[in-house]
Amino acid sequence: MKVIKVENLSKLYYLGGAKHNSLRDAIAGFVKNPRRDKKNELWALKDVSFEVADGEALGIIGRNGAGKSTLLKILSRITKPTRGTAEIRGRIGSLLEVGTGFHSELSGRENIFLNGAILGMKRAEIEAKFEEIVAFSEIEKFIDTPVKHYSSGMYMRLAFSVAAHLEPEILIVDEVLAVGDVAFQKKCLNKMRDVGRTGRTVLFVSHDMQAVSRLCSRAIWLKDGKLVKSGETGAVINQYLHEQSQSGAEKSWETAEKAPGNEFTRLRRVRVCDAEGKTTAALDIRRSIGIEMTYEVLQGGKVLIPNFHFYNEQGVCIFISHDWSGEWRERPRETGEYTSTCRIPPNFLADGNISVKVAVSTYLPLEVHFVESDAVSFNVVDSFEGDAARGDYGGPMPGVVRPILDWETKFSKS
């Protein structure tokens, strides 16, 4: 049986000044109606159709701004579609955020009741589950303390505990698992999986592909408001990741005006390549990675130092590298085009998505000629064949680097 039927769902937003926030704008709006202005239109969602069967867990993936949240907002009845319809059979519970409506002045106990009511639980239902919620949150001792005195971790644990005990027939969840410490996240994920097992239908939006593939049997991929692919989770995620990696490996600036730079030098192209020099965004952890920038020197006479900054998904700067080698370190540049390549050795970075910031500077005195954040990005893919740093270990490995180091174990028989 299909419990969710979505047909041609579309949502149009008007950007900038289209809707009035003050009386004066409204009056001005009568004279010149910005609604008619096609340039201001943004289809956050365009003709999206899909169905979800009873008891099925559907993952919704896509980049930021692809329309995932808009879709959930429409299905949660927070906002209405511009066109199209949806039919949902069963009691809906939506979690677009945990701790919605929490009040900092109220105690944990009071917030459980308030938040429960906001999420659509009946008072009797909350009372029946109260002990369970408190136990799950692990904050029994502070249940009568105002939540403003809670640490952010305690706050999120309490908030999630209420949410986790919601028992709707259809659960709509938006990325709420990205909170709390790792152990608690895991507990929540397991709880959600149990929810899925008890025959409830789940709609789940997340950037965490691992969570999506663990929870959902089917997935849909949204891109620029349109549904690109739907089907078995693994296949959809693969295609999505593939496209993601294609887009980030190379960036070039066609016209000089748009390119980052100043009167001395200007960036023209950045790319990520593998050991053979082929442009790619998917790089084997066991091979070297090349980052290459091409830049134009417009005025000669300056010493220029190209540099790369590497960031992981959490925004942590893993390291910075600049051209320290002898040849260009003290030698003023002539006008012309240069290409500088930095090589990251094999078995160095941990797996995951790495974003690269590109800059060219002069050091004595310090002068930054251009800086381009997120110029390119690439994925380091770990090897499970036993020849990488992880060896035979198959679980998650924290850390920003994953080097192969020398080990020595001494043995003496007792």
Binding site: H20, N21, I78, L114, R123
Partner: protein, 283 residues
């Protein structure tokens, strides 16, 4: 658990806004517990971290009554006054304070609860409703002061009680309906036009002086009283006082006030429902 076995038959249809007015009272009824919890939250939070707590609800009208009694008994005396002035002021000011506080509070309620409005579905009317209801809590508290003052003046034979006091709740109900209507209206308008936040305090101040809160309408000219009668609060205040002090009712003024209240109620519901669909996108 019973909720795990039974499958509810409810089906939600999501479609673009139709332009037709759908009050959806059934939905409002389904969410009645949320109304209760939001009201409870507002009451609970209002006097948090104050030293004297809910006594403020009593102190505000008492102090105002004292100030006005001093001013008007020293500088300007209302000759036509039959009821002792402190009682007269307090009885009107209690109602006014409720109207003023509740409308101000309700007007900012949707914007103030934007985190709820953008993250979860529930009938939006509940938000300004609960804001008004929480104001009612203060009103009930301050009635204690009125009761004390009434008992004092009755014991002094300055006022006489009559069966009419049983009609007082009717006028309070009318005041609640009026407040709810205007609270809804301004809360919705405030989502789109933040001008409301700045204009409302002035408008309410003007309204107070255009209402017989501190003065009896008898001191005004015939013409001014006719205009004043179209202020829905006039009939409510007059009717409330007439009930307390056993005076005769001015049915015409009361009728106009009741009619105006009903009109405002319909209008505010209409405006609210028309604007409701865009709240989450605009807020």
């Amino acid at each position: 658990m019973s909720s795990e076995t039974e499958k509810s038959a409810e089906t939600t249809y999501i479609k673009p806004a139709s332009g037709w007015l759908n009050l959806d009272l059934k939905d409002l009824w389904t969410y009645r517990e949320l109304l209760y919890f939001l009201t409870w939250r507002d009451v609970k939070v209002r006097y948090k971290q104050t030293a004297i707590g809910v006594l403020w609800a009593v102190l505000q009208p008492v102090l105002t009554t004292a100030i006005f009694t001093v001013i008007f008994s020293t500088f300007a005396r209302f000759e036509s006054q039959r009821v002792p002035y402190p009682l007269f002021v307090l009885s009107g000011f209690l109602i006014w304070l409720f109207v003023f506080n509740s409308i101000s509070f309700a007007a900012n309620s949707l914007v103030g609860n934007s985190n709820l409005v953008t993250k979860i579905y529930f009938p939006r009317l509940i938000v300004p409703f609960s804001a008004t209801l929480s104001g009612l809590f203060d009103l009930l508290f301050s009635f204690a002061v009125l009761a004390v003052l009434m008992i004092y003046y009755v014991s002094q034979n300055a006022v006489t009680l009559s069966w009419q006091i049983l009609c007082a709740p009717f006028f309070i109900l009318l005041a609640i309906l009026l407040t709810v209507s205007l609270g809804n209206l301004f809360s919705a308008l405030n989502v789109r036009f933040r001008d409301v936040k700045f204009a409302l305090p002035f408008a309410l101040q003007v309204w107070m002086f255009a209402s017989p809160v501190f003065y009896p309408p008898e001191i005004l000219s015939e013409k001014a009283r006719f205009v004043l009668a179209f202020n829905p609060l006039t009939g409510i205040l007059q009717g409330f006082r007439a009930s307390l002090f056993g005076e005769s009712y001015d049915w015409l003024t009361i009728g106009i006030s009741a009619a105006m209240t009903v009109v405002l109620m319909v209008l505010s519901l209409f405006v609210f429902k028309r604007m409701e669909d865009d709240f989450a996108d605009l807020i």
